[in-house]
Symmetry: C2
Amino acid sequence: MAPVPDFEQMWRDLAPVGRSAGSGGYFRQPFTSAEREATAWFLEQCAARGLDVQRDRFGNLVAWWRPDGVAPAAAGRGVLVGSHLDSVLDGGAYDGPLGVVSSLAALDVLRDRGFAPTRPIGVGVFAEEEGSRFGLACLGSRLATGATTWDRARVLTDRDGVSLEDAVAGVQTGEADLLAEVGCFVELHVEQGRDLVDRDAAVGVASAIWPHGRYRFDFTGEANHAGTTRMEDRRDPMLTYAMTVLAANKQARLSGQRATFGRVDVRPNGTNAVPSAVTAWLDARAETAEHLDAMLADVERLAQERAGRDGTGLVVTAESVSGPVHFDAGLAARIAGPGSWPVIPTMAGHDAGVLSAAGVPTAMLFVRNPTGVSHSPDEHAETADCLAGVEALADTLERLA
Amino acid sequence: MAPVPDFEQMWRDLAPVGRSAGSGGYFRQPFTSAEREATAWFLEQCAARGLDVQRDRFGNLVAWWRPDGVAPAAAGRGVLVGSHLDSVLDGGAYDGPLGVVSSLAALDVLRDRGFAPTRPIGVGVFAEEEGSRFGLACLGSRLATGATTWDRARVLTDRDGVSLEDAVAGVQTGEADLLAEVGCFVELHVEQGRDLVDRDAAVGVASAIWPHGRYRFDFTGEANHAGTTRMEDRRDPMLTYAMTVLAANKQARLSGQRATFGRVDVRPNGTNAVPSAVTAWLDARAETAEHLDAMLADVERLAQERAGRDGTGLVVTAESVSGPVHFDAGLAARIAGPGSWPVIPTMAGHDAGVLSAAGVPTAMLFVRNPTGVSHSPDEHAETADCLAGVEALADTLERLA
C-alpha cells in the first residue's frame, strides 16, 4: 500500500475546510458544502488505507479495517473509534475532527508496529453531533442507536426551513446498520475544560458525563413607555431576568457546578420600551442528578422571589434533561491503567454518551487543551499532546482488538 | 352646516381602524392602509366642518378653520392644534389620536359657544411621530421644520426595504409650507405617566421635555462551552450586562430619573454557549442634562468595575442625545393660570418638542391616564377626562385665537 499522510499532514490538509477568513472559526454544518468537503477528504483517506466504507441512511458512516485473516466480525465483535466532522457555528478545529484524524493515524501506528488485530476496527463519523443545524445534538448517533426515531427527526428544519429529510437526500447514503458489528466504542476528543492542565497530563480517560438540563425561563411583565413610566410603576421582566442570570452564576460557583444563560429573546426588544416579556434559556450541568435538581430549585426560588418584588411573572419549563452517563468502568480501567492516565468526568454531551446509553461498552480519551477554550475559534491543542493522543488510542486498540 | 359627530361618536368611529383582533392594540404605521384609513376618516371630518385642508410633500397636513371675516392669516398669525394618527407597533388608542379628535371637538365647542376667532385655527396631523416604520421619531415635524432634511430622510427604509420616498409617493401630498401661517402650537396628548393621578387633576400643562439619551453598550467576552468551562475560567459578557441592568435601574430609582434596558442582542445566542458578545441599549432620561450625564457616568462606572471583575470588555457609545425642551413659559402660564391646571414636565418626545426647538411658541396639554400605561393596548383615559381635555383645549383657543 502507498505511504499515507501522517497526523500532522492530515491536520494541515483538513485545516482550511470550512474555515472563516474573518474569524478563523469553522462553519461545518452538516450536509453543507464545507462538511461534505471534510467528508470527501475523509473518504480519500479511507481509500488510501484500503478501508471498507459503510453508510447508513442517516448520513453516518464507518470505515472498517479488516486486515487479512480477520473475518467480517460477528455481530458485536468489532471495535469502533472515531468522532464527528461537523462544527458549531464559528467553532474550533479540534472538537470532532481530532477524534477522526487521530483514529486514522492510530491505524497507521498499529500497522507500523506490525500489530495483527483479531477483530475489525472501524473509524466512525457521526452526523450533526453539535446540533448546530437541526437543533438536536448527537443527531446521527441518536438515529443510529434508535434513541431518536427517523419519523421524529426527518421533519426537523434548519434556519432556512430545509428539512433533515431533504438535507440527507442530497448526500450519499446507504442501508447499513452501522452498529451491528460494534462491540465497543472509544471516542477521542479534545478536552473542553482544563482538568488535564491541572493534572499535568497530556491524555485522560472519561469516567462519566454529567447530567445536563436545558430550562426555558419565561419572564412576563408589562409593556410600557421607557421615558414616562416611573421606575416604581414598572413591571419590567428584564430586571427579573438580570437578577436570575447573576443568581444562577453564583449558585453554580458556590456548588462547583455549571450554569449559563447564553440565549435570550426580548419582546418587543425596542430601545424606548419597557419589555413585555423576556424568554431565556438556562443550561445547567451538575455532578449528579440530585445536584442538578438542587441547583435549579435554588435558581428558580431566587428568581421567583425577585419576580415577586418586580411585579413580574415567571414560568420555568424543562426543555430537556439528560441523566448522567457512566462509561464502562472496566473498560476505562483497562484503558487508563497501563498509561496511568487520569480518569475525569466531562460536562459535555458526546456521541459516546449516546452509544453508552444504548448499551454499547464505551470509553472516551481526552487530549489536553491548554486554555480549556472550546466551541470557539481559539480552541487549541498542542501537536505533541495530539500525537500523545494518537499513541494512547493505538495502545488502547492493541488492548481491545 | 350639517351637525357633526361629537367627541364620543368620533372616538367610536375611529376605534376599529388598525386595531388588532388579537391583542386589541393598534398597528397604524405611517403610509399603510390602516393609517391611511385613519387619515381618510380625518379628512371626512374636516369636510363636514368646512375646513381648508393643506398638505406638504412629506405627508403632513393641516386643516384650517377660517370663519367668515377672518382673512387668511399673515405669516405667523395662525394658531395650530393637533397631534398625530400613527401608532407604535401594538400601541394604544390614545397616543396621538386623542389630540386630533380633541382638536376637532374643540372647534365644535367654540362654534357652539359662538366664539369668533380673530385668527385662523388649524388642526395638524404630523406623519410618523412614533418612528415605528422608518426609525426616526417625529419624522413629519422634523421634515416640516427642517430639523431633518428630505435628502437625509428619503432614503430611510422600513423593515421590508421600502424607502420613505417610495412610501410617501403612494399617498396624496401637496406643496404647502404648513408652518408658514403658524404663530403658536398647542398639542393635547394623553399623559404617559401618573403625575396627574397624583395631583388629582384631569388636565395638566407641560413645562418641558426631559433630556433624553440613547447609549449603546457593547460588552465583549470569550465564546466558550457552557458545560465544560469552569465558572472561574469564563469571561461571560452576559454577567456584566445583567449587573449593568440592575445598576441602571437602581441609579434611576435613587435619583428620580429614568433608565431602561429594553433591547439586547446576544452573540451567538445559543443555549449551550457562553456568549462572545452582548450589545444592549440604555434609554436614559433625566430632569436636566447634568442629571443625565451624571446618571450615565454612574452606570458606566459601575459597569466598568464589574467588567474588570468578569474579565470582559465594555465600550459605551452615545447614539443620540437630545437636550431639554423648555416650552414657552408665558404661553404655559397663560394656559394654566385660569384653570389652575398643574404644570408638569414630560419624559416623552413629541412633535411639540420639535416645533418648540424650531422656535415656534409651543405648549402641551395632558389628559389624565389612570394607570400611566402607554405604548400598550392597555393605554386608557376616562371619557370624562377626555371631555375635560376638549373643554381645556377650547378654553385655550379662546385665549389664543
